[in-house]
């Protein structure tokens, strides 16, 4: 076996030789195509991955990523554990950047609008046109998404030279929060929340685990605050009309009406003031608010609010919100009320921090409404759109499309021809963030760098917008002093370091610091910004009235950003389209969430296609019954219903923005997402929802039990038994991994008998096992996308997914235990990440007629694809239903160049074979080989799976359970540990789950 050229090596050489040279890493010069690696480029060894630390560009959070490249192609994105803010986690959208990079709908060349559609032109022509128009004297408007600090500075400098105007439009920006901080503390910044330090966390609707501000960081902090690693467990209360994914993780839900946040927060603050707290200049004002009144406005029980006030009084509290889904006409006031509550609860300086001199974000964001009016009035000669898609994300009532079309010359920097770019006169293909330079300031004391992980893809003739602007600026006589943005960024870094590290505390060679930043992805420095210590009196009186809701009927329409697509900008990625929505579990299409009681009242059932209508428009969308939404509300997620975004997004679902009018938040001009009521009428049509959900009821199977916090720590101490005369219980590692209690007759020290403690896994083999802490799992689904990216798992499309043929090796099951929208009380929704359990007694193995399913000596339940005949007997016999079958040639239907993302270490499966989770065997082997070459054992934690690599909440632990010092072995012995269905069918899985811990008492089904 060991002699000669091994098959895998041969294939590596073959792959590298024939295909490897199309692109090479960013650090090399031009590489001719189709020339084998006779002289390999530096840093690239065929068959060995090169990693680049960078910064995620999918939203404005600025999480740290590590991009794995093979032969010059990015194949995988993981969280960067060295990153001080995101700390090794990542979300599904971040991982899916790969499908943005390799998206077949990317622009192949600059486009000019002609009489009959767009025509391709050269970059020279395009830049010439742009230079000419910008130089012609008309005032330019730049409509951009949120940009990194240096790119933003470049833009601002460029526009300053041209007397231009820049408007930032980011639907996921919490402008009301910014405005509220400005009113409360007099600084223009976003607060910093220290969730991990809180003992009581109250979210007034802020979806901090999904879309709000920095979800990955918050998820990590939440896991620390809410997990029971240290024996303590913080409490999380969700206040709002609909349980988002964040809400599903709450311990308690107060189902308050949308718009009642301010009333509740002020009443709580008032209650705290009555108990002796101080709310600064607002003390008198809040004293006027009572919990009774708040309960009436919110439609909840006053007892729940009283209890909440008691908990606030205990200290270490933090209130968040109302977040993006709470953008209504009084959003700024509601945010201000929550800030006042935080001050009254003495959270300022403890769990809530406000930087005094901060100048974060785009200074004084110019008004979007004003820009639209000006565009309509012909105030601009040129309008440039970049990184935002207002033609899709703004309601038609905003008049954007009409106003935009009146601008004489419209330019779009875009990666794909989106709804806004389609209206432009000139479309310039921008590079993807994975091909671009950039930076971010994701948190205090952190400067994060974005570096390209690979050269721009050859089939898309794209250029970074910043490079183009530098070029245009030079032609117009405004030289920014740098030929490329890379140089500009490098110079900006030096400028930021300053002399002698005054501002940052960083000293030393700037080049060395820069190299370190590139290597680790970020630079940590000492943040010397002073903190705000108290509230200031408002300049003008703020009205805290409940916001107006237009329209007839009794159902309030809740529009919220999708955890998968955000504002819709990630909607052209099949991985995300086929990722079950964390809440509804629906894939591909849109749905409207309605309480089952409301459905019954309207005579509807799941899957009925209804027309959701407001004064502005109507959408037809199927119903998904959800017990986690108030009976007087319906909810539709943003992100669907694209009309011109790409082959995957177009026509999928509906765009709820078409239902909204022009109502905005009074304090910040942010669009009010909750501003109208809707009427729901059946259309008579019905459809299967595209959902993997079989049942959300455990049906007495107890596949995900929970334990009350009060019941923890009461397990009998076993050592005492063993000490009594040698008779007693010993814990023995059983064959399948994990431990079982054995009764002993002889002396304890005689056990285990030699050789018996490892089962039939030989002495020289590890037994790979996994532990999952369900108390920390938030059900976000990042692991699912990471698994899909790592293991070349195809998507199957809406029709196939509706038939139940999605190919995910890992899924998040969601079971309702306690969800009741009719009154306040505990919430208990359990998430169970389900993957191949790598059973020791694997039921799939004996039934395979050809040994395609077999057991490896190190405890993996392996699947030999080439040997599989496709009887599907193994899948029938798998009690966990984690085996998926290639019903068609799914992998061959993946369009060029999305197949460039394939991980070369993993087989691409063909038609008619079974596949499933491998515990990332390619990673196990890679590490094992490295350890063997270095002549050492594999270290604990050295092998980590793809799902583990992105989990922000540190749910997943992987390792050798035979090593008693390993983390996974310790977790397997935890008193919360159980294995799914093991007690019933003795499968002895390798995956050990740690039960969820609840604050309320648990009644277990089936006991």
């Amino acid at each position: 076996m060991s002699d000669g050229l091994r098959r895998r090596d041969f294939l590596k050489v073959l792959g590298a030789g024939s295909a490897g040279a199309t692109v090479a890493g960013c650090s090399t010069g031009e590489i001719e195509r189709l020339i084998p690696y006779v002289v390999p480029p530096e840093e690239i060894t065929p068959g060995v991955a090169t990693w680049y630390a960078s910064t995620c560009g999918e939203c404005s959070s600025g999480c740290g990523i590590r991009v794995r490249t093979r032969e010059g192609r990015a194949v995988m994105i993981e969280g960067n554990p060295d990153h001080p803010v995101s700390g090794g986690g990542l979300c599904s959208r971040g991982v899916s950047a790969l499908q943005g990079l390799y998206n077949p709908d990317r622009l192949a060349s600059p486009l000019r609008a002609g009489t009959s559609g767009f025509e391709a032109i050269s970059w020279d022509e395009a830049i010439g046109m742009l230079t000419e128009r910008l130089g012609a004297g008309g005032r330019p408007l730049f409509l951009t998404g949120r940009k990194g600090p240096t790119e933003g500075a470049l833009l601002d400098g460029f526009l300053a030279a041209l007397n231009g105007e820049r408007v930032v439009h980011d639907p996921l920006d919490d402008a009301p929060l910014r405005a509220a901080v400005n009113i409360a503390f007099g600084v223009n910044t976003l607060p910093r929340y220290d969730i991990a330090a809180a003992r009581l966390l109250v979210s007034f609707g802020a979806d901090f685990l999904e879309t709000w501000l920095s979800p990955v960081k918050f998820a990590a902090d939440f896991a620390r605050m809410h997990g029971v690693d240290d024996g303590v467990k913080g409490k999380f209360v969700f206040v709002g009309p609909r349980l988002s994914l964040t809400g599903q993780n709450a311990d308690e839900w107060i189902p308050a009406r949308s718009g009642a946040e301010a009333e509740i927060a002020l009443a709580l603050a008032g209650e705290l003031v009555r108990r002796g707290s101080d709310a600064g200049p607002y003390t008198d004002m809040v004293s006027g608010y009572t919990l009774e009144q708040a309960a009436r406005v919110a439609g909840v029980e006053v007892d729940a609010l009283n209890a909440l006030a008691d908990q606030f009084a205990e200290g270490a509290a933090l209130a968040l919100g109302p977040g993006l889904a709470g953008h209504h006409e009084g959003a700024t006031a509601a945010n201000l009320a929550v800030l006042i509550l935080n001050v009254a609860a003495s959270s300022l300086g403890q769990t809530l921090h406000i930087d005094a001199a901060a100048e974060s974000g785009a200074p004084g964001d110019a008004s979007l409404a004003g820009a639209i009016a000006n565009m309509g009035a012909g105030a601009y000669g040129v309008a440039v759109v970049s990184g935002t898609n207002p033609a899709y994300t703004l309601p038609p009532a905003s008049g954007f499309q009409d106003a935009f079309s009146r601008v004489p010359f419209k330019v779009a920097f875009a990666t794909t021809l989106d709804e806004t770019a389609a209206l432009a006169d000139l479309v310039l293909p921008d590079t993807h963030p994975l091909e671009s330079w950039g930076d971010a300031m994701p948190g205090p004391g952190t400067y994060a760098v974005r570096q390209p992980a690979m050269r721009p893809l050859p089939m898309f003739d794209s250029r970074p917008m910043a490079d183009v602007l530098l070029d245009v600026g030079r032609r117009l006589g405004h030289d920014a002093g740098a030929a490329t943005f890379q140089e500009y960024l490098r110079a900006a870094f030096d400028g930021w370091l300053g002399e002698d590290g005054e501002a940052t505390g960083l000293t030393g060679d700037p080049n060395a610091l820069w190299r370190a930043a590139l290597r680790t992805g970020s630079v940590s420095y000492i943040d010397q910004t002073p903190q705000v210590t108290g509230l200031q009196a408002p300049e003008t009186a703020v009205r805290f009235d409940a916001p107006g809701i237009d329209g007839d009927g009794e159902l309030t329409l809740l529009v919220y950003p999708s955890p998968r697509f955000g504002d819709g900008s990630h909607a052209n990625r099949p991985w995300l389209l086929e990722l079950p929505d964390p809440v509804s579990k629906v894939m591909w299409h849109s749905w409207v969430e309605m309480n089952p009681a409301t459905l019954e009242r309207l005579g509807l059932r799941e899957g009925d296609v209804v027309s959701v209508a407001t004064a502005e428009g109507a959408v037809e969308v199927p119903v998904w019954p959800y017990p986690g939404i108030r009976e007087d509300a319906v909810a539709v997620a943003m992100g669907g219903g694209h009309t011109n975004y790409g082959q995957f997004a177009d026509g999928n679902g509906v765009n709820p923005m078409t239902l909204l009018g022009t109502a905005t938040d009074a304090g910040s001009e942010a669009l009010a997402l909750v501003s109208t009521r809707a009427t729901v009428t059946p259309t008579g049509a019905w459809r299967w929802l595209t959902s993997p959900e079989g049942s959300s009821d455990q049906d007495d199977r107890n596949v995900t039990p929970a334990v009350a916090l009060s019941a923890l720590g009461h397990a009998p101490a076993e050592a005492d038994h063993a000490a009594e005369g040698g008779h007693g219980q010993l814990r023995e590692l059983q064959e399948g991994g994990g431990f079982r209690t054995v009764e002993t007759e002889g002396r304890a020290e005689d056990f285990p008998l030699p050789g018996s403690d490892f089962g039939y896994y030989g002495e020289d083999h590890p037994r790979w096992a996994m532990a999952m802490d369900l108390d920390k799992c938030t059900g976000c689904g990042a692991c699912v996308t990471a698994c899909q990216a790592e293991n070349n798992i195809p998507w199957v499309g809406e029709v196939q997914a509706t038939m139940g043929r999605e190919m995910h090796w890992l899924r998040i099951e969601r079971y309702y235990e306690t969800v009741d929208a009719s009154h306040s009380g505990p919430v208990d929704i359990r998430f169970l990440p389900m993957l191949c359990q790598h059973c020791n007694n694997a039921p799939c193995e004996p039934v395979c007629p050809v040994f395609a399913a077999y057991h490896t000596p190190d405890g993996l339940n392996a699947q030999a694809y080439n040997r599989c005949v496709g009887t599907r007997y193994c899948a029938n016999n798998c009690p966990y239903k984690v085996r998926v079958f290639n019903w068609y040639r799914y992998t061959q239907q993946i369009p060029e160049p999305m197949n460039w993302q394939f991980n070369p270490d993993v087989t691409v499966r063909d038609n008619g074979v079974m596949e499933k989770c491998t515990f990332c065997v390619q990673r196990i082997r890679e590490v094992g080989n490295r350890a063997a070459v270095e002549g050492r054992e594999v270290r604990d934690g050295e092998v980590y799976t793809a799902c583990q690599s992105v989990c922000p909440s540190d749910v997943i632990t992987f390792g050798n359970i035979k090593d008693h010092d390993s983390r996974v072995a310790a977790l397997a012995e935890n008193e919360r540990t159980y294995r799914v269905l093991d007690a019933l069918i003795n499968t002895q899985p390798a995956v050990h789950y740690l039960q969820k811990v609840t604050l309320h008492d648990v009644e277990e089904a089936g006991h």
């Binding site: 039921p843 007629p849 050809v850 029938n876 016999n877 079958f885």
Partner: protein, 456 residues
């Protein structure tokens, strides 16, 4: 008058035929000239075979995804139909071998047709595992053969047992079937002319009807009958273990082997009735396949129906008695879940409708038996559908429950399989004597001149 004499022997279900000549004439007449009706049926069957093969090749080209199968329901109409045809294949051997060994006097008239049915049913059933697998071009890997990779099939897998069971059963029943026809083929040869004569000359292996030949023939026949008898029990037991050896709730039970064998005989006898009624009518064999024969088969149906109904009840009881939520859930789902209708079709057709056979009038009514046998055929197909599909759709992990709907391709292959079976059966009725001439003569009054004279 001789006919009347034969009838007077009434206690035995002997055919109403008088003479050896009549036997030869009546049976071989069937082979002589196809009627228009035969050609119409044959054309329909051939068209059905075209649909069958066309659907299958389309599936091979596109992938098994053209079926409605999914996760969790990885087995559906194909395996249902496989088990159905294996079950059908049982009655032939039962009627010919077991009843031969037990000297049941009513078997002679029907055993040839039911043996042919057995062989063609196994030929049909054997295709379904091939149709079902994802990569049919690798299906030969299930056969143990020496190879340079030193790879053997997994002998722990019930699917490998299936390969053995089905191939053994096919081989034995085909040989048994062929052996039994040899004397009749010789009779056909003696009457045929031209090309047909050549054909019968070859396949009758030069049978002359000598004492010595008869001696060897009957020895061989009884040995083969003894060999085939255990197979009747073993084949469907093995097929049932495809399910019983799995841990799927609703499959994992020890009752499956006897339950499946009884069900197989039940469905097989029912199909014999379904086929014998029109055949008897069309070919004018009323004197050979008499009401007595049908009544005997009806009694067999009644017995096996009772066993099957008992098995259903046992399953329900044990599901409840086990106390295990997955087991209880599985059976609750069968009766009240999404596929309740399939379960009630099964119970009605297999348990309730055959209760009518307790009435002698029903047992002796050819029309009633024909209708009931069709109910049983439908019911037995649905029994397998219920076992396979509803169990898989509702297993341990509630989140992974799912539903399955057969696709047009699956329906095409299901219906096509009947055409495929009919195709061979129609050929059989044209080419081989559909009633055993030689054995019929054993039960027809021997041509004794003295008796004849006495009567006149």
């Amino acid at each position: 008058m001789a006919t009347a004499d034969a009838r007077q022997r009434g206690a035995l279900p002997n055919p109403d035929v008088a003479t050896y000549e009549a036997v030869n004439r009546d049976v071989l007449k069937v082979l002589s000239r196809p009627g228009k009706g035969w050609w119409v049926l044959f054309a329909m069957a051939a068209a059905g075979v075209a649909v069958f093969l066309g659907s299958w090749f389309y599936q091979i080209y596109q992938g098994i995804g053209v079926s409605g199968l999914n996760a969790p329901v990885g087995w559906g109409v194909y395996i249902t139909t496989f088990v159905f045809w294996v079950g059908i294949a049982h009655s032939g051997t039962l009627i010919s071998a077991i009843l031969f060994l037990f000297r049941a006097p009513w078997r002679q008239a029907i055993y040839r047709a039911s043996e042919a049915m057995t062989v063609f049913a196994v030929m049909t059933a054997g295709l379904f595992p091939l149709i079902h697998v994802g990569r049919v071009w690798h299906a030969y890997w299930l056969i143990p053969y020496p190879n340079s990779r030193f790879l053997w099939p997994n002998f722990r897998s019930p699917l490998v047992w299936d390969v053995f069971a089905i191939t053994t059963y096919f081989t034995v029943s085909a040989v048994f079937f062929y052996l039994g026809t040899i004397p009749d083929l010789a009779a056909a040869r003696d009457q045929a002319r031209g090309l047909r004569k050549k054909f019968y000359q070859v396949i009758s292996l030069g049978w002359r009807g000598t004492d010595r030949e008869w001696h060897h023939f009957s020895k061989a026949y009884i040995y083969l009958a003894a060999l085939a008898t255990p197979l009747v029990l073993s084949v469907h037991s093995v097929v049932s273990w495809d399910f019983a050896m799995a841990i799927v709730p609703g499959w994992h039970t020890t009752i499956f082997a006897p339950y499946f064998v009884a069900g197989a005989i039940f469905s097989g006898v029912a199909l014999v009735i379904t086929l014998a009624v029109p055949m008897r009518k069309y070919f004018g064999l009323e004197d050979y396949l008499t009401v007595k024969h049908f009544e005997a088969m009806a009694k067999l149906c009644l017995l096996t129906s009772s066993i099957v109904l008992y098995a259903y009840m046992t399953e329900y009881f044990l599901a409840w008695y086990s106390g295990e939520p997955p087991e209880r859930g599985s059976f609750w789902n069968r009766v009240f879940g999404h596929y309740w209708w399939a379960n009630w079709i099964m119970l009605t057709c297999n348990g309730l409708v055959p209760l009518m056979l307790w009435f002698k009038r029903v047992r002796r009514s050819i029309a009633a038996l024909f209708v009931i046998s069709i109910f049983i055929n439908i019911g037995m197909w649905f029994e397998r559908y219920v076992i396979i599909v509803t169990s898989l759709s509702h297993e341990y992990e509630p989140w992974a429950w799912g539903l399955y709907r057969p696709s047009y391709v699956e329906m095409g292959i299901l219906l096509g399989s009947f055409a495929w079976f009919g195709f061979w059966f129609l050929l059989f009725t044209r080419l081989l004597p559909p009633v055993a001439i030689a054995e019929m003569k054993e039960v027809v009054p021997p041509p004794m001149s003295s008796r004849k004279e006495a009567a006149t």
